[in-house]
């Protein structure tokens, strides 16, 4: 586990420890020097967020935790295997009873505020399975390396989200004809604890906001959204970088310009508008905001490293997704991409949900193999076998997923 505890007790005396814990430390004098009593250690993220112990902690402040391919085998991702990507500190003392959502901005007819209860009762509720992938999923493979949390392959999920359609609420609010973009504002706290700063405030063009699957969600997999995933209210915009799906949602601004909140500019969630050579400097004005995520797939069974006996058939399975589009073809290769074979591929349960594939593989002889997976979207674009176009922050790595297999 990468998770290291911070050491803030170096100069604390037993007396002051007792004050913090609220009880005397019996046998305190026998405690090893600098040993931190359990009551004062940083919380265990796996227990705190109800995550599986095999999840990987990339960062403990802010919390960033990812899955591994084989942990994502469920058709609908349960909380315990869902990645956490936080830009700031999780808000404290959330009161769902008094929670409100305000609509404002240049292009709102009148500023309007709803309580969470009003949103739930006033508008029709919908449930969709929606793929949320971090824009930086796969960043760790870029060369030259890209700055940020070094996601491997596990910053993706497809859970069932329940809420009301943003379009229904926007119709009730009333927006002007010049409305161009929505920008969210949330309750999370900037790392510097500066109350004037927002950790992240992104959004989407009005057209994305108006899609039927774009939700103001209050449930994930049939229960209240877990704290780390945006309790009690989250914007959900499937198929786009998950940072569009703002957590702990407090306010939505209807903008007559492209929203200019935190992490909308510079190299954040933006890539060069035209391809650049690896490592090239790119001017701000030559960067474009990421919208739909690219076509991608994961082999979720078996876990990489399987040893089979000669003649043993291998049944693989996994998921494929394509941002705004559908996956139309799924293939695998066991000869480093020389030949490709079709997998069976299910239709998505609804738009923007990932699709499930399977195949039965026979290996010709003993030896080391890699199973490579390649999805093709409805516009004919396939996953590359090498890293796709380099970009300063290492976004959109949709290179083929690979697992290692030995036939012994």
């Amino acid at each position: 586990m990468n998770f290291k505890r911070r050491n803030f007790l170096k100069k604390a005396t037993l007396g002051s420890l007792a004050t913090v814990i609220g009880a005397d430390i019996v046998y305190g004098e026998l405690m090893p020097k600098n040993y931190k009593p359990l009551a004062l250690q940083d919380p265990d993220p796996f227990k705190l967020f109800h995550k599986d112990a095999d999840m990987t902690v990339l960062n403990s402040k802010p919390w960033n935790i990812e899955a591994k391919a084989h942990l994502l085998d469920d058709k609908v991702t349960p909380n315990k295997f869902m990645f956490i990507r936080n830009n700031g500190l999780i808000p404290e003392n959330i009161d769902a009873e008094s929670w409100t959502l305000t609509f404002d901005g240049e292009s709102v007819k009148n500023t309007k505020t709803y309580t969470l209860a009003e949103l739930k009762s006033k508008f029709k509720q919908y449930s969709y399975q929606l793929t949320l992938e971090c824009g930086g999923n796969g960043r760790s493979e870029f060369n030259p390396p890209a700055k940020g949390n070094q996601w491997t392959i596990g910053a993706v999920s497809c859970a069932t989200w329940t809420g009301v359609r943003l379009k229904d609420v926007l119709a009730d609010v009333g927006i002007k004809d010049d409305a161009k973009y929505i920008g969210y504002h949330a309750a999370d706290v900037h790392l510097s604890r500066d109350p004037e700063k927002e950790p992240i405030s992104r959004g989407a063009p009005i057209a994305k906001a108006m899609q039927e699957e774009t939700l103001l969600a209050f449930e994930m997999n049939g229960e209240a959204i877990p704290l780390a995933h945006g309790f009690p209210l989250r914007l959900i915009a499937g198929g786009w970088p998950a940072s569009v799906s703002g957590k702990w949602l407090k306010r939505i601004s209807i903008r007559n310009i492209i929203h200019d909140g935190a992490k909308m500019g510079g190299s954040s969630y933006r890539v060069p508008c035209k391809p650049v050579a690896p490592g090239e400097k790119v001017k701000d004005e030559d960067m474009c905001i990421i919208e739909s995520m690219p076509v991608k797939s994961l082999i979720t069974y078996p876990k990489t490293g399987a040893i089979l006996s000669e003649g043993q058939k291998l049944n693989i399975r996994g998921h494929a997704w394509a941002g705004e589009l559908e996956v139309s073809k799924m293939e695998y290769s066991i000869d480093f991409g020389s030949t490709w074979h079709l997998c069976t591929l299910e239709k998505p349960v609804n738009r923007l949900a990932w699709q499930h594939f399977a195949a039965a593989i026979e290996f010709p002889q003993k030896g080391y193999y890699e199973v490579w997976a390649r999805a093709t979207d409805s516009q004919g674009k396939s996953q590359p076998m090498l890293l796709p176009g380099w970009n300063p922050k290492g976004y959109l790595n949709n290179a083929s997923h690979r697992i290692a297999i030995k036939i012994a």
Binding site: L58, N59, P62, G148, K303, A306, E370, L386, A404
Partner: protein
């Protein structure tokens, strides 16, 4: 009466036995804490450096090298060490990151410490050429039935 005495003796014996067991468990627990406990907690910055010999990773998560204390003091107030240690950058890249944090994330002027921090980061967290697609590594092999 004699029956009662025998019972009391037996009870006292059982209690003594329990106390001995508890004492042994406590001592074993303390020994376990000393040797198997959270080793990253048992050394303090500025302590005898020989305590850190078994690992070049400081208990903070940073590689132990000249300037590490300055890095800890300036870089872990807002975020965890992992946000630094996951990354690999050239000196120029680390400087650009510092400037970005100063411009937009409330990082203070580092003064004379900037050179110390930059030298430390550029030396210990430098990029490696991984090509266009690294080989699969750290595979844990297992038999699949």
């Amino acid at each position: 009466m004699s029956d009662k005495n025998t019972t009391e003796k037996r009870i006292r014996k059982s209690y003594r036995f329990l106390i001995v067991i508890c004492a042994i468990a406590l001592i074993a627990g303390i020994i376990a804490l000393y040797f198997g406990g959270p080793t990253e907690e048992t050394s303090e910055i500025g302590d005898d450096p020989s305590e850190n010999l078994e690992s070049d990773i400081n208990h903070s998560g940073f590689i132990e090298d000249e300037g590490v204390q300055t890095v800890i003091n300036n870089c872990t107030t807002c975020h965890a060490a992992e946000l630094v240690t996951q990354n690999k950058m050239t000196k120029e890249g680390w400087l650009a990151t510092i400037r970005w944090m100063q411009e937009s994330q409330n990082l203070w002027d580092l003064g004379d410490n900037e050179a110390i921090i930059l030298n430390y980061l550029a030396k210990n967290y430098a990029p490696e050429d991984t090509g266009r697609r690294p080989a699969l590594k750290d595979i844990e092999w297992y038999a699949l039935k």
